[in-house]
Symmetry: C2
Subunit: 342 residues, 2 copies
Amino acid sequence: MSSLQEVARRAGVSKATASRALSGAAHVSPAARERVATAASELGYVVSSTASSLVTGRTKNVGVITPFINRWFFAEVLEGIEGALIRAGYDLTLFRLPSEPEQRSRLFHYFLVRKRVDAIVCLGVALTPAEVELIHTLRRPAVGIGGAIPGLPTMSIDDVEATRLATRHLIGLGHRRIVHVGGDLGEQMDFEVHARRLAGFRSAMEEAGLDCEGAFRATTFSVPGGYESALALLADPAIRPTAIVAGCDEIAIGVITAARELGILVPSELSVVGIDDHPYAPMFGLTTVRQVPGEQGEKAAEMVVRALADATDPLEPVASEIPIRLVVRRSTTAPPGVQSVR
Amino acid sequence: MSSLQEVARRAGVSKATASRALSGAAHVSPAARERVATAASELGYVVSSTASSLVTGRTKNVGVITPFINRWFFAEVLEGIEGALIRAGYDLTLFRLPSEPEQRSRLFHYFLVRKRVDAIVCLGVALTPAEVELIHTLRRPAVGIGGAIPGLPTMSIDDVEATRLATRHLIGLGHRRIVHVGGDLGEQMDFEVHARRLAGFRSAMEEAGLDCEGAFRATTFSVPGGYESALALLADPAIRPTAIVAGCDEIAIGVITAARELGILVPSELSVVGIDDHPYAPMFGLTTVRQVPGEQGEKAAEMVVRALADATDPLEPVASEIPIRLVVRRSTTAPPGVQSVR
DNA sequence: CTGAAAGCGCTAACAG
DNA sequence: CTGTTAGCGCTTTCAG
């Protein structure tokens, strides 16, 4: 509405001084600074971010690309990113990556490159080498979450190690008939998460000399997916596994729900291990390989913000992979009183 | 990187013609248009959105304010909004509304007003009259979701009616000992959702001449919340209710999980009705009062986009309340074979 | 410490 | 149909 010009006039100074006073950076006499401040607040002045972006080349805005918004892991990371960005004075522009390749490149070129964002956070998106190069050409800091992207700093768990850990945990408990209910290899996510988690399971099984034949059930990466799959898998008591490694906690929760519905006692008759540390884990007595998505988002956002702050000129991102430490977290099982009621 | 100037030079036309050719609006000779197009693509040119925003006054960007990102209903609406916006060529800038009042007003003035957004979608946020006035002053189209905001078009379900419907449904089934497990009135959401849903429950109970005394359990609006609450509520078979009206589907799912853990058969020994039509509803055999959050988001986004398109100048929003139709949706109960296994 | 002036990259009249 | 000319609102040298 009201421009810097008006503020300056009202304060009896020039636009330049008003600008300096407001931005707080340069040296302005206390008196002038004061007058400008009151003038601005009286007029309800706020800088036009477009105008200031045009001249500074910085938008104070970070773009986040993600394939999903309403899936627990992604939404959680998103909240973490959002918090860190707002704290640092950055806005967050959200792009959901379409699955169709041409749509995808349209998004990249049309929406992302228009000088709309100072930096980019890629959540669960494996950028192609060409896309990474584009980001480098644009000299925009970028960081990935959920899998390694060559040429970009990324943070992610080791998906192979996660299921390996889970599987070893179950083997250590004495289980021999273990099945992996994981993501359908056909509807692969980026970074081949499904395949990598399956690989970790296989590796642990083979290392223990156990047979993997038919020990994998493919499903959707969701609670209903795990439920449907387990309903079929657990129906026949004769061939039922004694333990399940779920592809993620959501699948695990579905599996446990199905098991309970079938009258199978968890964990005495069936042990289930998931991955992610979903908030519902405790109420399902779910043991899980822990990762904290919100923290990952926060860290990633802090990284790009730091890069933005450090760099006089937009910074060349350093390539490196930041691993997330994995731990098996055993949920406290339901209170004994509850168990006995059954 | 490369500017319009360079494109123009390469195509042998003026900046103005290049601009017209690229934006596609005005009349440009096919030959010139062609030359500009190839020049632009050879140079990998993309408009600087900041520069173009500065002169047009439009950012092609819509702000979305929401208190939560990682809660099913909100994330779902968000996806709907995102889809509709991207389709219309708008970006989405996401603001999570802090709960602290001063932070909130800071967000409003500092982030939202800086000419960063062409329009605003308020999701689950009850704007104050002052905030609405500010939006009107800015002449920005705005629409609310989740509750009525005087002075703004809003879309929401009737929260009172939702629980009333749910409660009547249970009463119709012959239930008399019905409890409402709903949101804690202390940690109120905007629009007094918790209180309104409780009111609907009470109204239906009283209308049927049933006693509401002690028939309300306050909890968190979440699956674990419903679970914890139900564990206590259902522990004693002697005083256990035969039906529960949950404040939302997430609570309902928690309740059902607790019931199953306690060995209570659902729905034969305990009927539960939720609100929202959560994707897990079918696997829990949950009957629910249906609303489709994704569609609400889509519609809201389409409304602001239309307002933006219709208006030569940013449009004065029309105040009106768009109700969402409510229906009780009975989930198919689990397959009979499964029931008998128990 | 402060003011004048020169643009940032683009679009929108206004003449040709 | 196309080129010229002004700015949009701000920051930033560069002189005072």
